[in-house]
Amino acid sequence: MPSPIVGIDLGTTHSLVARFTGGRVEYLRNDLGEILTPSAVAYDEGSRKLVCGRIAKDIAATRPELAALAFKRDMGTARKYRVGPHEFTPVELSAHILDALRSDAERALGEMVTQCVVTVPAYFDDGQRAATKQAAELAGFTVERMINEPTAAALAHGLSQRDGESRYLVLDLGGGTFDVSVVELFEGLFAVKGVGGESRLGGDDFTEALRALLFARVGIVDDAARAASPSAHALATKRAELLKRKLSRWKLAEVKLPPFAGLCPETSLEVTSDEANAAYRPLLERMRGPCREALRAAGLTPEELDAIVVVGGATRLTCVQDFARDVFGREPHVDPEPDFAIAKGAAIQAALLAEDDAVRDVVLTDVASHTLGVEVVREVGGQKLHGYFSPVLHRNTVIPTSREQLFGPTEPNQKVIRLDIYEGEGRKVTENRHVGQLVVRGIPLQGDRNIAVRFTYDLDGLLEVEATVVQTGAAVSAVYERKAGEMSGADLERAQARLSRLKADPSERPRYRDLLSRANLLWRDLEPTAREALASAIDHFEAVLQHRNPTEIEQAFANLTRVCEVLDGGERY
C-alpha cells in the first residue's frame, strides 16, 4: 500500500491533520486526544526543550516571554521570535508545529507519514508560500501540493453535491487571515473564479479589539499595560478570548480584568454584545473590500450566487454571520465544523493527488491571487522614468499558467539586465512587494536585443522565472532568487539539526505537563478556598510523579483532572 498523503491545515491559531480514507475524511487526533492542535511553540524551562500545542499555549498565557503565537502572520518575513533563550524564524516555528503534527499522524495511523498537502491563505504571496513549503520540508515532509484555504473549504463544502451546478462564495475567517473565494461548481469541476483577502485579519484581531475595549473601560493603553506586566497582559488576552466566545452566544457577559501594577486594580466588567459589535465594526468593514474584489473578478453579482459558505473558527462570531447576511442579503451557510473544513478540503486534495476512486470525477482549477510582473523603465517625453510595474501574469488567471513577455535593455551598451520581480496590483513598483530578482548576462550588443522572460505560476502558487535571449536562443544562466529569506540547503540542514536538538522527548508525557500547566493557570483564577483545594491536588500529583509508579500516577492524574473540571465550573467553553 502506498504511504498516505495527509492534508494539513496549518492555521494561525490552530492546526490539524486529516486523511481521506474509504470515501470519507478522517481527522487525526494528537497526543492529548484532541483534533485541534494550537499553533503555539514554547520553551519549557524544566526540560529546556521546545514544546508545542496546547501546553505551549498555556505557557503563553502565564509566561508570554517563553512562547510564540500567531507566527503564521509573519511567514515569509525575516522577523525573529524570541522563545525563552532562543530565537526562531516563523519558518522554524511552523516547522516545529508541522513536525509535531507529523508524529501525531504517524501515531494515529501506525505508519510513516512523509507526504502532505498543506493549506495556505489564498492571499499569501510568493514569499509566504515558499516559506510555508520550506517549513514543511524542514519538518521532514514532501509537500505534494499547496492549496488555498478557501479553495479547500470549497472542496469540502461542495464534495457531497458535486454533480449539480452552483456558484458559491466562501468566506474564510481564520485565526489570523481572511480570504474570500468565488467558486463555480459544474458537474464535478470546482473552478475558482476570483479571490480576495487580507493576510492580516482574523479572529485574533477580534480578540484584540475586545481587549482594547476592556482596557479603554478602565482607562489604560494597551502598550502601557503590556509594558507594566506582560503576564497580566497575556491573561487579559485569554480572558478577552473567553469573553468573545461568551458574547457570541449571550447578550451580556462578565469578565475579570487582571490587575496591572500602577495602572489599575483587578476589575470586574460587564460587556454587552452590542458594545462588542461596535468594537468589531472596523474589522468587519475591512472584510467588505475583499468580498467585492472576489465577486468582481468572478464577474458575478451577489444575486447570482447560490450560497454563501462561511468557514474558519472565527465565523462562529455572530457578528461575522450578520456581516455576511448584511453584505449578500441572504442567510449564510455556516459550516457545522468550521474549524475542520479546511483540513477536510486538504485531505480531499490529497485524495485527488493519490487518484482515489471516490473522487475520480472531481477536477479543481484555481487562480493566481496576485499580479506578477517586472520593474521597467518608461520613456516619457524623452525622459527615462524608473519604477514602473509591468505586469506579466495577471491575477485571477487560472493556474498553472505560463506567459512570456519581451523586455529590452535601456542603454545602447548594456550587457546585463537585472529583472526585479514584483507582486501586487500597484501601477508603480513601490506599491508592490519585491519578491525576487533575476540577472541576465551576455546580451549581444548588435541586432535584436530582446530578452524573453517567461513567468510560470505552478499549482502551489509558486513562481518560476526563466529568461532567454531571443537573438541567440540560449536560455541564460539566470537564477531567480527569492528575496524573503530563502534558506539554502546548508541552512536547511542547520535549522533541522537545531530543531531536533530542541525537540521534546516523547516519553515526557505531554498530557501530564499539560494538565499541570492547565491547573496552574486555573489556580490564578480561583478564590482563596478553591485555591487551597486545587493546590493540594497539584502538590499530590507532583509528588506522585516523582515516584514513577504508573498506576499511582494515573490515579492522581484522574483526580487532578476531576478537581480542575469541578473548580473550573463552566469557565471552559
Partner: protein, 442 residues
Amino acid sequence: MRPDPPFSVLGIAPDADEKAIKRAYVALVRQHRPDKDPVMFARIHAAYEAALALQKEHDPEAMLLTSHEYSPPVGPVDSNRAPEDLGPAEAARSADGEEAAPSESFATGELEAVNFAPPMTLEELVARVGPERAALLVDEATDELLVAGSVDYLAHELLSEAAERLLTAGHDIRRPLLKTSAALAYSAPARAHALQDRVELGGGDFGWLDDRALLAHSFSGAFDKASGQELPPELSRLVALLPLVGDRWVAQLLESALSFARAETRTFTVAMDRLPGDLLGSIGRYALDDADDGYPDPEPNVSERALQDLWRDLEQRLEADPLNFSSKFLPLLVGSALLFWYWFGWLGAVVALFLVMAAAVVFVMLTDVHLYARQVRQPLLALTLKTGVAPADLAASLKLWPWASEIGRFTDEIRDDALLLLTHRLVVGAARLRRRFEEDDS
C-alpha cells in the same frame, strides 16, 4: 500567435450554449488535469474562456449582465483592480502562453459595453456614445480610475478640448474635474489649478471640498518631508481619496490608516512623530471631540493663555529642585572634604570631593531619574498633546535639570505615549463619528 480556434479545441459546434461549452470543457479537463498536463490544460482553458466570451457576445441578454450593472460603492480600501481588466472582450487574453493577440472577432464585442478607460480618449467616447452619456460615463469611471492610479490619464482627458466642449455645452463633469484636481494638487499643482479653472466653466459651489483636500495634501506633503520617503502605498491611496469622500469616509479612512499603522508601526510612528502639530490637530478635528477615554481632551483651539499656564506650571516644577540635591549631598560633601583635609591636606580634600561627587552622580542616575521623570511626565505629555510639539523639543526649550542628556530616553517615552494616545483617540473618535452617521441614517 493567434489563439486556437476555441470551438474546435473544445470539439463543439460554434452555436453551442453555455452549458454545452462547460460540459465539453469539464470532460476535457478530466482527461488533461491541470497538475498532470499543464500545457494542454492551458490550451483548453484558453479555448474555454474564448468560447464563453464569444457565446456571451452573441447573447444580448448576457451582454447586459456583464456590463456595469453591479457597481458597488467604491470605498477607500477597495480594489485596486485596473479597470481594463473588466470587459468581456479581455477574456480572450488568457493563459495562452504567448503574447496575447485577440482576434478580430473579439474586438466587436466592445460596441455596447463602453467603458471610459485607457486608451480611449474622451473625444472618442463622445463620438461613440454622445455627449450626455459620455459625461455620465466619465463621472462613473472617475473613482475607479483614481483608485487604480490612472490620475494622469484622467487629467489629460479632462484637460482636452473635448472636455471643454462638454462643459460649455452644459454637461456636468465638474465632479470628475474636482476629484482629479484634488488628487493631483500635491504632486502636480499646475495641472490641478488648470482643472480647477475648468470647474468654473460649469459654475457651482464646491466649497465643501476645500477643507478635506487641504488636509489630504498637507498630510502627504508633511509625511514626505518628515520621513524623507514617500507615503506607504496603502496610506497614499487613502490620502488621495480623502478629498473625494464624505465625513463618513473620513472616519473609515482614519480607521484604515490606523490599522495600517498598526501593521507597519515603525514607519508610521517615525513619520507621525515628525508631523507638524497643526496637522495632527486638523486630523484630530475630524474625529476627536469629547472622547471620554480618560485622558485630557485635546483642544485644537487651545487658548494662548491656557498654554502659558501649562508652560509656567512645568517650568515651576522643573525649577523646584526635584531631587533635593543640595540637602542630600551638601552635608556629606562638606563633611568628607573637611575630614580628608584634616587627614591628608588639600590633595586629600580634592580627591574626597571628586569621589563623593562621582558617587552622587551614580546614585542619582540609578535612583532618582525616575522620580524626576514622573514629576514632569504628565505636564510634558499634556503640553505635547496640546501643542503638537515633540517632547524632545519642548524639553530642549525648557530650563532643564543639569543631567539633561539623560532626559532623552524619557522624552522618547513621552513621545511614544503621546502617539499612543493620539492613535487611541483617533480610533475612538473615528468609531464615534461613524456611529453618529449611522444614527443620522436611521
